[in-house]
């Protein structure tokens, strides 16, 4: 093989280049095809060029479902743009399908006229059979709606990597880089950052590194040489606030947020957790940060996980437990122990499709009522929901701050969509992070275990402090001694005190922030990970100029902003879209006694902007 595979061809053969505002690509293939890797590499390349971006990985619950079946399809969607974007995109402009099963499960989302790139090697008779096709879909007239590029990517890849000495299966495995090279050419980005990455990643296996690099460049050069696509596309820089950026997923952001909280409060972080999809990443991230003094305890079960965190909190650590829906069910009793003992604790629930085991790798927002009410007794706790992947950082910090300042468990809701999805994160200056002081009492003369401060919080006296020996527990306490009390009046008073303490968190929550029209036809109220879709939909409706629509996105759901009811009153109608059958709507209706329209989607996928636009128009018109 000549040197051709090791260098990029000069782009003189390129005829046309079209400027686009935004593009959505989906890489889809078998679980073992490396689609997540291809997607993240393209994401970094987009970030490198200054595009705004949002990503959505979509992978099966099975680690390696039978190869070639629809159950084993793994996909990575990437939306990149020269304008501000808030979602990974609705319908897709480009679908890369590495086999028949990937085509079958993803073709419905490809726009009319969109580009479909397929690896013909994934469309042999047995591939078709595994995917459940009786005839080859590549011969189907229906594909005429798309710009289809058929290529034996596998065979091309094997040929391209031959000079590296890598052969057979290992050679074919490089096909994801070949595909990536093609996409780099098509969207006019340099493969060099990925070349660098390959060298670092496979430094210890120079053969494999070389093979992947050859594949990448071969894919790029192939497009250049054979004029496979008549035009290339440019997506320019997006206007962004100046600063240093990194790509961040919600789980990474949450982990960093808690480390930041630990640093800012000068309190060691303790995480008690049991692995569960899609929350395990937070445990994994923090387990690697021991040099921050972070203690991670992989417990024997969900209950031990939260109980260990409660023990660590009692001992004076900033305590955290992370889970998903089924785990939250198991933690209910222990959350109540923290409510009663009034100890700071953050519980992260990365929501997934439920009930029961449900859809472990798919997203949903259906744990809201459980978060708010899923415990015995009158047991209020603050609940905050992160709105984007990068907001998980800030929400984690805020949750920790409230937990400590109000001596209460705080529940942070994220979801599979923002936990695994990624976007650019403007790295904050340490000096811009909120500070919070942790005070542990030391004076035996004034110490009373349940004496409340202005926040309604009791003192956090930690074992090891001379003279402050005291006992706490799940039995009702008398105020302020903390001794056991079965007195009816005391229970009434303590129940109200606990309730009022949580209500007073509203001073942290602040006033309702309205985007769009401050009054008018419709108020859309959303929460959690649907922020991007809902906000984009409202923008789109407002841009059309006919309707007066406002948007309120709730981050704190308990307590609510104190002026929310009066804000709602300024609109004729209210629409509450959420990825469940109406949990926030039920909560708000109950609180305010107002009629509200719901839009519930429980398909394991986020909202499409288009379906929200339709719902907004319909609700106003109805």
């Amino acid at each position: 093989m000549s040197d051709q595979s090791q260098t990029i061809l000069e782009a003189d053969g390129r005829k046309d280049s079209v400027e686009l505002e935004s593009v959505t690509i989906r890489f889809a293939g078998d679980s073992g095809d490396g689609m997540q890797l291809t997607g993240t590499q393209f994401t970094d390349a987009a970030a490198h060029l200054g595009n705004d971006l949002a990503t959505l990985p979509d992978f099966p619950a099975e680690i390696r479902a039978p190869a070639g079946t629809t159950a084993g399809v793994s996909a990575f969607q990437l939306h990149f743009a020269s304008c501000d974007i808030k979602t990974p995109g609705d319908d897709i402009d480009v679908l890369v399908a590495m086999n028949a099963a990937a085509l079958k499960t993803n073709i419905a989302d490809l726009k009319q006229g969109g580009i479909l790139l397929v690896d013909e090697d994934g469309f042999h008779e047995k591939d078709l059979e595994k995917a459940g096709y009786t005839t080859n879909p590549l011969d189907d007239d229906k594909l005429k709606a798309f710009r289809v590029v058929k290529l034996d990517i596998s065979a091309n890849t094997v040929r391209a990597v031959e000079p590296s000495g890598v052969k057979g299966k290992n050679a074919a495995r490089c096909k994801n880089f070949y595909t990536l090279g093609m996409m780099y050419w098509l969207y006019d980005r340099s493969p060099s950052p990925t070349q660098e990455w390959i060298k670092q990643k496979f430094g210890k296996k120079p053969e494999i590194a070389q093979a992947n690099e050859f594949a990448l460049l071969a894919g790029y050069n192939y497009c250049e040489t054979v004029e496979l696509f008549s035009t290339t596309y440019k997506v320019g820089k997006a206007p962004q606030v100046p600063g240093t950026y990194r790509r961040i997923s919600g789980n990474e952001a949450a982990a960093m947020g808690f480390v930041a909280a630990s640093v800012q409060s000068h309190t060691p972080l303790f995480l008690g957790s049991y692995p569960i999809t899609p929350a395990s990443d937070i445990l994994q991230e923090l387990a690697a940060l021991k040099h921050f003094g972070v203690r991670t305890f992989q417990a024997e079960d969900e209950i031990a996980a939260i109980c260990s965190a409660i023990g660590a909190s009692f001992a004076g650590n900033l305590a955290l437990t992370t889970t998903s829906g089924p785990g939250l069910c198991l933690k209910s009793e222990a959350i109540n122990l923290a409510v009663m003992a009034e100890l700071p604790l953050v519980i992260v629930d990365v929501q997934r499709g439920g009930p029961s085991t449900g859809l472990p790798t798919k997203t949903e927002q259906s744990d809201l009522l459980q978060a708010l009410f899923g415990r015995n007794g009158d047991s209020p706790i603050p609940v905050i929901a992160a709105k984007t992947p990068s907001d998980c950082f800030w929400a984690a910090l805020e949750a920790a701050k409230v937990a400590v300042e109000y001596m209460t468990p705080v529940l942070l809701l994220t979801d599979g969509y923002i936990a695994n999805g990624a976007e650019p994160f403007r790295i904050p200056d340490i000096s811009d992070l909120p500070k919070f002081e942790v005070r542990h009492p030391t004076d035996p003369a004034t110490f009373k275990p349940y004496q409340r401060n202005l926040n309604g919080a009791r003192p956090w006296a930690i074992p090891g402090t001379p003279g402050l020996e005291h006992r706490i527990g799940g039995l009702e306490k008398s105020s302020p001694s903390g001794n056991i009390s079965y007195d009816p009046e005391n229970h009434q008073r303590m129940t109200l005190e606990r309730y009022e303490k949580i209500e007073s968190v509203s001073s942290v929550v602040g006033k309702t922030f309205v985007e769009g029209s401050p009054e008018g036809d419709l108020l859309v109220i959303s929460w959690g990970g649907t922020y991007g879709s809902v906000s984009s939909a409202v923008d789109r409706v407002l841009a059309a100029g006919k309707l007066k629509v406002g948007h309120v996105h709730l981050r704190w759901i308990n307590p609510l902003p104190i002026d929310l009811q009066s804000v709602i009153g300024r609109y004729r109608k209210v629409l509450v879209p959420e990825l469940n059958v109406g949990q926030l709507r039920l909560f708000l209706s109950g609180k305010f006694g107002l009629p509200m329209q719901g839009l519930g989607k429980v398909a394991g996928k986020p909202f499409k902007i288009s379906e929200l636009v339709t719902a907004i128009q319909k609700t106003v018109g109805a």
């Binding site: 990194r246 109980c307 222990a334």
Partner: protein, 338 residues
């Protein structure tokens, strides 16, 4: 980490008595365990503020309220999980766990296994009265098969488990059994547990005067214990019944019989430090009345504790990477400027 102060005040039992009225039933075995621990703790050379006592739910679990130390009365079965967090967060504390046969072996059985295998430096006292007391008399996981209770009117069909066999199988380093009516023995065993580095598991045979009174009488009353209890002493022959009976090896099993002058020298000798734990495990399987009831320290073998290993990893990570720098962490990986 909290360092113990170099000059310690001289502590006595009264320093560990809280101002709360003890509310166990009159005659309950729990009283003597409370008194024993209040005697043992002042002698450990540890400042009072560095003790934490964690319990679950049940009669025994009211224990922390009566001790003037840091205490946490948690939820059913979960004391060990909470205590693990306390000890991991602050290895400078001496952490005691108070649990019962229901709390520790039924609802909390899972946590017991895992605390023991990890060897978290906790001192666990399991009050075994072979009955549920606080819920008023249902059979427990240690109740004898056939026992008639409110929930087993025709007799329990559950096979009981041996707390000590469970502990040894989970890899416990320190395993002991004592009784609530022999304060001297009780105190010495708790003292040995306090001094052991690692999870120390102590089963106390504790009489419930209301729902299971007299369950241990055949071998623990002052007159019967002389005949049927086998006191374990490290390095001493395994004999009982006023030194008339002894244990002999017989293939893979144990022969418990009268000693003769000629075979006295062949009696097995107790060795709590025996690495494999085979002898301890065999002793834990003894079922009365076919076999005597062993009391004392079955096994005492130290190994690194979970909390010190966790601390060690943190120090190793800090030595290798330097103490965490938040700005560096936030700016790690692929970044770009706008």
């Amino acid at each position: 980490m909290i360092e113990t102060t170099p000059t310690l005040p001289v502590l006595s039992k009264k320093d560990f008595v809280s101002d709360q009225q003890v509310k166990w039933c009159p005659g309950c075995g729990d009283y003597s365990i409370l008194a024993a621990l209040q005697t043992v703790l002042p002698k450990q050379g540890i400042a009072r503020e560095n003790f934490a006592i964690i319990s679950g739910i049940g009669c025994s679990s009211r224990f922390p309220y009566y001790m003037d130390t840091y205490g946490f009365h948690t939820i059913h079965g979960r004391a060990l999980a909470v205590a693990t967090g306390v000890k991991a967060a602050n290895p400078g504390l001496q952490v005691w766990v108070i649990t019962g046969d229901g709390d520790g072996l039924s609802i909390g059985g899972n946590h017991l296994l895992h605390a023991l295998r990890r060897n978290v430096d906790l001192k666990v006292i399991l009050f075994n009265n072979e009955i549920y007391g606080l819920t008023k008399g249902q059979f427990s996981p240690t109740s004898a098969m056939g026992i008639k209770t409110k929930t087993s009117p025709m007799g329990s069909i559950d096979q009981p488990l041996s707390p000590l066999s469970v502990a040894l199988s989970a890899g416990a380093g320190f395993v002991a059994r004592t009784v609530d009516n022999d304060i001297k023995h009780l105190t010495s065993v708790l003292d040995a547990a306090a001094k052991f580095k690692g999870t120390a598991f102590v089963e106390v045979l504790q009489n419930c005067v209301i729902f299971n009174d007299g369950v241990y009488d055949p071998f623990y009353a002052p007159d019967t214990r002389k005949l049927n209890a086998l006191y374990l002493e490290d390095g001493k022959p395994l004999t009982w019944a006023n030194d008339t009976k002894g244990l002999y090896a017989k293939g893979f099993s144990i022969d418990a019989r009268e000693m003769t002058d000629s075979d006295r020298s062949q009696v097995l000798v107790h060795d709590a430090k025996e690495e494999s734990g085979t002898l301890a495990w065999t002793l834990s399987r003894f079922a009365f009345p076919e076999m005597p009831v062993p009391l004392g320290v079955f096994r005492s073998v130290e190994r690194p504790t979970y909390d010190e290993l966790m601390d060690g990893q943190i120090h190793a990570a800090q030595a290798a990477k330097g103490t965490g720098d938040l700005a560096k962490l936030l700016n790690s990986g692929f970044t770009w400027k706008v």
